[in-house]
């Protein structure tokens, strides 16, 4: 009895999912249309594009203790990762993926690309802890930004990036593994999902975003 009822519930859940995914697809198409229509109309240009992450007002702190808004990252493409420094499983692999991406860029490209790590762990990842992390992982001072912030703002950024996470047992966070490429205006142009993925497409995307 339980099995049949359960499968009903799961089927229903899947239907809900499928419906929403379809809705999402339609929305993407609509968004593309609306962007072009706006351009043609030649109306007032907003300070930031409709899809730019840099519209949010949240305040962050770098590992150097400097306050910053996300729009402080504007002007060059950013490779963004949400992580936490005490992570013992996925994050080291993701960080390695970032380093692989960086290494695959030509030096003149690399100089134009930012890498931004934002921590889920608002309690333990203080600027000082992140500074330590930068050292431990030997992350270059130039172009690599490590951010900590308030939990509400972390939640909002995760929502913007489509990253799911929750605090799990033993001070760990369960989270999706997503590396996001933002263009200079802060729009999402590519998301690489998973661990130790093929980085070629991400590198290509970045190559197109910088002056070559």
């Amino acid at each position: 009895m339980n099995t049949s009822k359960l499968s009903f519930a799961l089927a229903a859940a899947l239907l809900v999912n499928a419906h929403l995914l379809r809705a999402a697809e339609l929305n993407t198409n609509a968004a593309v249309r609306s962007c072009c229509a706006a351009k043609e109309a030649g109306g007032l240009r907003p300070a930031y594009a409709d899809k730019s992450l840099y519209q949010v007002e949240s305040q962050w702190t770098t590992d150097g203790g400097k306050p910053i808004r996300l729009r402080g990252l504007a002007g060059q493409p950013q490779v963004m990762l949400m992580f936490f420094s005490k992570c013992t499983s996925a994050c080291p692999i993701l960080l390695n993926d970032l380093k692989r991406i960086s290494a695959a860029l030509r030096p003149e490209q690399r100089a134009q690309v930012g890498f931004t790590l934002v921590s889920f762990d608002t309690e333990r990842d203080t600027p000082a802890a992140l500074a330590e992390y930068r050292q431990a992982w030997d992350l270059p001072l130039k172009n690599w930004t490590l951010l900590s912030g308030h939990s509400d703002d972390v939640l909002e950024l995760a929502a913007l990036l489509g990253v799911k996470y929750r605090k799990a047992a033993a001070g760990q966070f369960a989270h999706s593994n997503v590396i996001t490429v933002l263009n200079a205006k802060g729009e999402i142009v590519r998301q690489q999902i998973g661990l130790h993925e093929d980085i070629r497409e991400t590198v290509q995307t970045l190559g197109k975003l910088v002056r070559n």
Binding site: L10, L20, L21, A23, N27, A30, K51, A90, A174, S176
Partner: protein, 277 residues
């Protein structure tokens, strides 16, 4: 304490710790506190008492029950009329002005215009076609916040007569019935059902509701500690990690939240606000 008489026990305590006096004091203080709390409740909100949230899925290392501190919750979902006040005061949240990153193309889709809900969005019906960002902005505008999953589930597990409605088979059957009915094209007014024991209406049976941490349901993605992988959720033995394989509405809410993105605006998805004590 076995074998000691009441008198001996009382004598061993200072006067203010003696049960009789303490009890009286406690009653007086309790009444005072209750009156204070009732007076202090923000308008149109009800007090949700201390409770426990039993996560739908958890890993072996995580607790079965998470304590939820008492909080205030809107008695009703936010209505079209409430939201009209919000968009009047915050033009950037009007339908034609909202940024696409914060609300998809369907934002306030059933309204006739920026400041005109029209016939498809009656004033007293719950506002829907609102994104998580819009819901959050509304709550902030009111000096409130969205409830967490734990808080929402805690409030919604109460039946009309008891806070632990999950142990009330009739209440469970009722919810399942509600979930089996399709959402009408024009939503009815909020508050028509019987309030739950806390005085909250429509937590079931009218619309789904946004919660602050909607994006904490990891249906796919990282599967730390084996708790949240696709396999665990969807396969034959999948109910193993689940709290109660018979809680179909719980499964549906979990799955629904898991499939949401923060900019989605959907016909049967509204919200209500919460407030700390």
């Amino acid at each position: 304490m076995k074998g000691t008489s009441n008198i001996q026990r009382q004598a061993a305590r200072p006067p203010w710790r003696r049960p009789a006096r303490f009890g009286r004091w406690l009653r007086v203080a309790g009444c005072g506190l209750l009156a204070f709390v009732l007076n202090a409740a923000p308008a149109d909100m009800v007090l949700i008492a201390n409770g426990v949230y039993r996560p739908m899925f958890r890993s072996a290392a995580e607790p079965k029950a998470v304590p939820v501190k008492a909080f205030y919750l809107d008695a009703l979902p936010v209505t079209v009329n409430d939201f009209l006040g919000f968009v009047r005061a915050n033009p950037r949240w009007q339908r034609s002005r909202a940024k696409r990153i914060f609300a998809d193309e369907s934002y306030l889709n059933n309204w006739a215009g920026d400041l005109d809900p029209g016939i498809n969005a009656p004033a007293r019906s719950p506002v829907t076609y609102v994104s998580w960002f819009a819901a959050k902005a509304f709550a902030q505008w009111k000096g409130q916040r969205l409830p967490t999953v734990a808080e929402w589930e805690c409030a919604a597990s109460a039946s009309a007569t008891r806070p632990d409605g999950e142990n009330d088979p009739r209440f469970q059957a009722q919810i399942q019935q509600w979930y089996s009915r399709p959402t009408p094209a024009v939503l009815p007014a909020a508050g028509a059902d019987t309030a739950n024991v806390f005085g909250a209406h429509d937590l079931h049976g009218l619309v789904w509701e946004w919660v602050a941490d909607f994006n904490s349901a990891l249906i796919s993605g990282d599967s730390r500690e084996g708790g949240f992988s696709d396999r665990r959720f969807f396969c034959g033995g999948g109910s193993q990690g689940a709290r109660d394989p018979g809680d179909y509405p719980g499964f549906m809410r979990y799955a629904f939240r898991g499939s949401l993105q923060a900019d989605y605006c959907v016909h049967n998805l509204g919200f209500r606000c919460a407030h700390d004590l």
